[in-house]
């Protein structure tokens, strides 16, 4: 019966009524921009969790930093005091509680890292649930950064091949770049003895900010 009356109204009034209805619904719909409520695509996340595509190696990351690749954002999800004590150069500190309210955008490539892998994994899940498109984790966290980049083990055999020598030199260079150094000797001795380098090292690296290509979007 209502539909009949509705159909009899002139088109203008029909659209007006629809608009009012949409408005009323909107009043109860909640904030459309809220990232807190979201529908989780469990299947997609399960699939992504199964594959290892969301992981980044410490050595690869070191390579990117040195080469000045800037198409990603490196995010440290630890607490602020830990960040200030030491952080991987070019990283920004966004503790896990502030992730969703930060200025991280859904279309950015984000690499997360924490002390080990736990916090980063939780942050990964958080961002993926909020429909962030490209999120990865540093494999092994700061621990593996220490072990593989800052203080890599010297695999000095008796007769190293050309390739082994090449890799050795490369690792030595990389570790020097970040203020660390190549280690010889047992693993336990080094990681407990060596002090973490001070923050002087990160500031030496000049990063070309990704905002080099700022496009006008105004009118």
């Amino acid at each position: 019966m209502f539909l009949k009356k509705f159909a009899e109204l002139p088109p203008r009034k029909r659209i007006g009524l629809v608009a009012i209805l949409l408005g009323v619904i909107a009043v109860f719909a909640g904030d459309p921009t809220s990232k807190a409520r979201t529908t989780i695509d469990a299947k997609e996340i399960a699939l992504l969790s199964d594959k290892d595509i969301a992981e980044v190696n410490a050595v690869d990351l070191a390579d990117w930093i040195i080469k000045g690749k800037y198409d990603y954002r490196l995010v440290d999800v630890r607490k602020k005091n830990k960040f200030e004590k030491y952080n991987i150069p070019s990283s920004e500190n966004v503790p896990i509680t502030q992730l969703l309210s930060s200025d991280l955008l859904r279309n950015e490539k984000i690499i997360l890292y924490g002390e080990s892998e736990r916090t980063a994994s939780q942050a990964w899940f958080l961002l993926k649930s909020a429909k962030y498109k490209s999120v990865s984790m540093l494999k092994g966290g700061v621990e593996s950064w220490k072990k593989e980049v800052l203080f890599p083990q010297c695999t000095c055999g008796v007769n190293p091949s050309v390739e082994q020598k090449h890799n050795h030199n490369k690792l030595a260079e990389v570790s020097k770049f970040f203020g660390g150094g190549m280690q010889s000797g047992s693993v336990e001795a080094t990681t407990t003895q060596m002090k973490m380098p001070t923050l002087k090292a990160p500031s030496k690296i000049k990063l070309k900010k990704a905002g080099g290509k700022k496009k006008r979007e105004g009118c």
Binding site: I15, R216, C219
Partner: protein, 191 residues
């Protein structure tokens, strides 16, 4: 709900005859607004931005000033913002292509309706010369105001308005206020 035949019927009505403006051959403004809203929405969904128009005038002005006297654009933040970093042609931007589309789209619609005609729009009590002078003066006000407000009725008004931007809404109200305030002074031009 809307008669498509009206869209393609040839009207040779000259709507600038002295006397009445005849709105009957123009489409219902509510319908136009609705469709325009959809186009605007499509722009948001496809590009993640709104529409605009005044930016093109700014770019053209900046390019012209640079060609004529490159020295005066150095250090002037305003012009430099529109000329870019020298890598790409400043005229090859999104707004420019959009405005070219607007121009051609308007032409097509006018052609279909038979409204395309070289003419000077004005009211019955005004001379052509005066009208053109007023047009130039009005244009300069527009140019200055659009730059000061960082936009025009398409950009700040439609785009900012639909995004519920505070500046956009304030701008729109100011535009209407300014226009209504001066309408009485120039009434002889139009009525």
């Amino acid at each position: 709900m809307f008669k498509f035949k009206d869209w393609f019927h040839h009207h040779h009505h000259d709507n600038v005859q002295e006397g009445e403006i005849t709105p009957i051959h123009y489409t219902n403004p509510y319908l136009i607004g609705l469709l325009l809203g959809f186009v605007l929405l499509a722009t948001f969904v496809i590009m993640g931005r709104g529409m605009g128009a005044s930016g093109v005038l700014s770019t053209v002005a900046a390019v012209a000033v640079e060609k004529i006297s490159p020295a005066s654009v150095e250090g002037n933040n305003f012009y430099m913002g529109y000329l870019g970093d020298g890598e790409s042609n400043p005229l090859k931007n999104w707004l420019m292509f959009e405005v070219i589309g607007i121009v051609i789209g308007g032409f097509i619609s006018g052609a279909i309706a038979g409204r395309n005609k070289f003419v000077i729009e004005k009211g019955p009590r005004f001379t052509n010369k005066k009208r053109l002078l007023f047009a130039f003066v009005g244009g300069s006000f527009m140019g200055f105001g659009a730059k000061l407000a960082r936009g025009c009725t398409s950009g700040q008004g439609l785009t900012g308005g639909s995004l519920l931007s505070v500046g956009g809404w304030a701008f729109m109200m100011a535009v209407f206020a300014g226009a209504y305030a001066f309408a009485y002074l120039v009434r002889r031009q139009w009525t």
